[in-house]
Every structure is written in structure tokens, then in C-alpha cells.
């Protein structure tokens, strides 16, 4: 079973619909026991960095998520679910992230913000990712200290990191569940890795 982590915001239904379409068993949940029991975790995200981290902590979900990741359980972060893995965000500088990776989350300095629409990902790692158009809605992006985790980059008035991959952790700034057939293919390959 795949646990889709519910922290009280975001359109979780679309992630669930995409997994249903791929015929895999999933459950939207805010229970620690489900997270620990699940074969895989997905942390989707909409809203603000501060709201997400506060709700995850209030619902006592930080520890089970981190424990699962440390134990090698496949984890997929989407949008804010990617940003959560880092230390802090310019969006709410007084709130700590999971600090699994060193680095910050920063705001776009150029162009219209948020970036809304389809942009290209350029793959830097073999496996899950390919080059192609995916759907983004973001005002912030991650700047990892360790560049070896970068899986794709994207150009929005300059290149930014649009996904990362290290061992059992995969995370995407864009929404694979809203990126048409190409996005569904990314999810299918994640399910196999």
C-alpha cells in the first residue's frame, strides 16, 4: 500500500486518481501507523512551507516520515513535499524543514511569480527521469548544497533544480499527477524503482 500523506491542505485527490489509473493500492492518510506500515510514501503539497511543516508536526507525522525514509522506504515528495526535505525556506524563515538535505528554498527573483504552466525538465540522472514538459505551480525552488542529488533542471529566467534523487528519496517540484501522459509515465517508473 502507498500512503499519500494528508496534512490538511492540497489536492490529494489528483494524486490518488493518478495511482488508481496505474492500478496501485493507495490510501490518503494522516495516521502514523499507516505511514510506518506503507510500502511507499508520497508527500504531496500545496499551500505554504510554514503551514505544511506546522501541520505535519502538529499531527506527529515528522518522526514516522523520517524514520521510514531512514529505513530505506521509497519516498516521493511533490512540490512542497520536495521543499520539506531541506533546512529552511524564504517563505517562512522561522520554520525548520526536515533537514534531510542541506540547502535552502528560495523565491524566484525574475519573471511572473508564481511560475504557472508547462516547462521542460532536463534529465541529469538515468532511471525515472526523461526530458519533457511537466506542469509547474511554484514561487519557490530548492538550492541543494550537494549538487549530486540533482535529477532534473528547468529554465525559468535561469536554471533551477526541478527534481532530486538520492537512494530511496525522489522529489519533484512539478506535479507529475497533472502532467498528462508524460507525468503518469514518471509515476509508473517511480513505482518500479
Amino acid at each position: 500500500m502507498i500512503a499519500i500523506i494528508d496534512y490538511g491542505a492540497g489536492n490529494l485527490r489528483s494524486v490518488k486518481n493518478a495511482l488508481d489509473c496505474l492500478q496501485v493500492d493507495s490510501r490518503i492518510t494522516n495516521k502514523a501507523t499507516d505511514i510506518l506500515k506503507a510500502d511507499r510514501l508520497i508527500l504531496p503539497g500545496d499551500g505554504s512551507f510554514g503551514f505544511m511543516m506546522d501541520s505535519l508536526r502538529k499531527n506527529k507525522l515528522e518522526a514516522p516520515i523520517k524514520k521510514s525514509i531512514q529505513n530505506g522506504k521509497p519516498f516521493l515528495g511533490i512540490c512542497l513535499g520536495l521543499q520539506a526535505l531541506f533546512e529552511e525556506s524564504e517563505e517562512n524563515s522561522n520554520v525548520k524543514g526536515f533537514c534531510i538535505f542541506k540547502g535552502k528554498v528560495v523565491r524566484f527573483r525574475k519573471g511572473k511569480v508564481p511560475q504557472i504552466g508547462w516547462n521542460n525538465i532536463i534529465s541529469k540522472k538515468k532511471g525515472i527521469f526523461r526530458d519533457g514538459y511537466v506542469y509547474f505551480v511554484n514561487s519557490y525552488y530548492v538550492v541543494p548544497e550537494d549538487r549530486s542529488i540533482v535529477a532534473t533542471t528547468t529554465d525559468y529566467y535561469g536554471n533551477f533544480v526541478s527534481s532530486i534523487k538520492q537512494d530511496n528519496i525522489t522529489a519533484m517540484q512539478f506535479h507529475p499527477e497533472k502532467s498528462g501522459d508524460f507525468g503518469i509515465e514518471l509515476l509508473r517508473r517511480w513505482l518500479k524503482c
Binding site: R13, G111, K112, G117, W118
Partner: protein, 251 residues
């Protein structure tokens, strides 16, 4: 680079897609879920559903359509029409809509934009602005173009951005359904005055009208209905044309 978006719009009445001209003279054009799938297969970047009757009974039909579309399609879609409250928004988002478009209620109660964007995130709050050209400038209309809001379009656009809108859906009532081309002056004015994306609407006609709305009108996305419903062009044809006219599109 971020691609310019092509967004087919489905006006829904009693669960069926219809199309009018200058906001009146409605004709039947097809089944919403079926049309949505066709556009998805044809590379549409997003879809917009406008519930143009939006009575309580029709709201329930719309919710069922939204659920069905969300199960079958994996591109973003927006639902608008008759949205008055945080509860209305929640219901549509829970059914699977990615964004909601607010029009009359935003004018009558601007605080709704602020509350909704704080609650659900700016990314899912689209403010629709219907505009008519008058001697004194571009004026905002509400209730499907029937009533003046006594607001200047540019001032209102800036205000909705400040209140937290994530995008503006800008419709020229004068051009709606006429196929005479988008109002380029209006689109450019608004798009260059706000820092959120502007979706141009009203007037999509021949292929030049679409390259113009991006190259001259500076729109971030273009919405069209009749040209797609009646198979004048496919979405792919439009995109191929745009590509050869220096507009970045997803294909």
C-alpha cells in the same frame, strides 16, 4: 522556458457543453467529459469548465462532472460559475478541480479572494474579469455580462493580485464568440501591469489571432471555445502554427 498555454473552455449548462455569442444565443456543442477527453488527447494544456447556469441543482450535476473528469484526465482544470463562498470552493476542490474561477462574488465581496487564497493557496484561485469597452475605458461587468460593476478593469486587476489571486482570466465581452481576434490592447495592458499570469479570452478566430495574443497581447495563456468545439482547428494545429511563429508551446 515556460510554454504559453492553450486552454479550451467548456461552457456547461444543465450538464451539457454549449456555446454562445457575446454571452447570449446559446447552442448545444457536446458532452463535457467526452469533449474534455478529446482535448486532453489533442494536447490541450489545461481545461476550463464554466457552469453558466449555476443554480443549486446544476451545482450537483457539475460536481459529478468534475469528479468524472478528475478520474480520467491528468491535466489541470479550472471550474467557475456561481461560486459564492469558501464552502463552494472547498466542494469543487474536493471533487477534483485544481483551480476555481471566481467572478461576480469577487466583485461583491473582495475579501473572498483573500480568504480563499489564504485557505487553499493562491495557485488555485483564478479571478475572472469580464470587460466591456466604454468611452471612459475598460469597465468590469458581472453576472455573466449583464450588470456593470462600476470598476475600471486595470484597477480591479491590480487589486485582485494584491488580494491573493493566482491568475486572471480576462474576457473581452465585446469579442466573445465573434472570432474577430482577442482584444490585444486590453490584454497587453493588464498582462504588463500585474505579475500574475493572465489568460486571455474572447475572440479567438483564425490562427493569427492566437499568435497575436501572445506576441502582441503578451498573454500567458489563451482560452478558446468555438474554434475547438466546432473543429475549426484542433489544439495541435494551433500549437504547430504557434511554434512556427516563435511562440513556445508544449507539444
Amino acid at each position: 522556458m515556460l510554454a504559453k498555454r492553450i486552454i479550451p473552455c467548456l461552457d456547461v449548462k444543465d450538464g451539457k457543453v454549449i456555446k454562445g455569442k457575446n454571452f447570449v444565443n446559446l447552442e448545444y456543442a457536446g458532452d463535457p467529459v467526452e469533449l474534455a477527453r478529446r482535448y486532453n488527447d489533442d494536447n490541450a494544456d489545461e481545461l476550463v469548465f464554466l457552469d453558466i447556469t449555476a443554480s443549486y441543482e446544476n451545482r450537483k450535476i457539475m460536481i459529478e462532472i468534475v469528479k468524472e473528469v478528475a478520474k480520467q484526465l491528468f491535466i489541470p482544470f479550472t471550474v467557475g460559475g456561481g461560486i459564492n463562498s469558501i464552502e463552494d470552493i472547498r466542494e469543487l476542490l474536493n471533487a477534483g478541480a485544481d483551480k476555481v474561477s471566481i467572478n461576480t462574488a469577487a466583485v461583491k465581496n473582495p475579501v473572498l479572494i483573500k480568504e480563499a487564497s489564504e485557505k487553499f493557496g493562491s495557485q488555485c484561485i483564478v479571478v475572472a474579469i469580464d470587460v466591456k469597452k466604454e468611452n471612459s475605458g475598460w469597465k468590469v461587468y458581472i453576472k455573466g455580462g449583464k450588470e456593470t460593476a462600476s470598476l475600471d478593469a486595470l484597477e480591479w486587476a491590480k487589486k485582485v493580485e494584491k488580494l491573493g489571486a493566482g491568475e486572471i482570466l480576462l474576457t473581452s465581452i465585446d469579442r466573445d464568440g465573434t472570432k474577430k481576434g482577442y482584444d490585444l490592447k486590453l490584454t497587453k495592458l493588464i498582462s504588463e501591469s500585474v505579475s500574475i499570469p493572465v489568460i486571455a479570452s474572447g475572440g479567438a478566430g483564425d490562427l493569427t489571432s492566437l499568435s497575436d495574443v501572445f506576441n502582441k497581447g503578451k498573454a500567458d495563456a489563451a482560452l478558446a471555445a468555438s474554434i475547438f468545439h466546432y473543429n475549426k482547428y484542433s489544439v495541435s494545429e494551433v500549437k504547430n502554427y504557434l511554434k512556427t511563429n516563435n511562440v513556445e508551446v508544449r507539444r
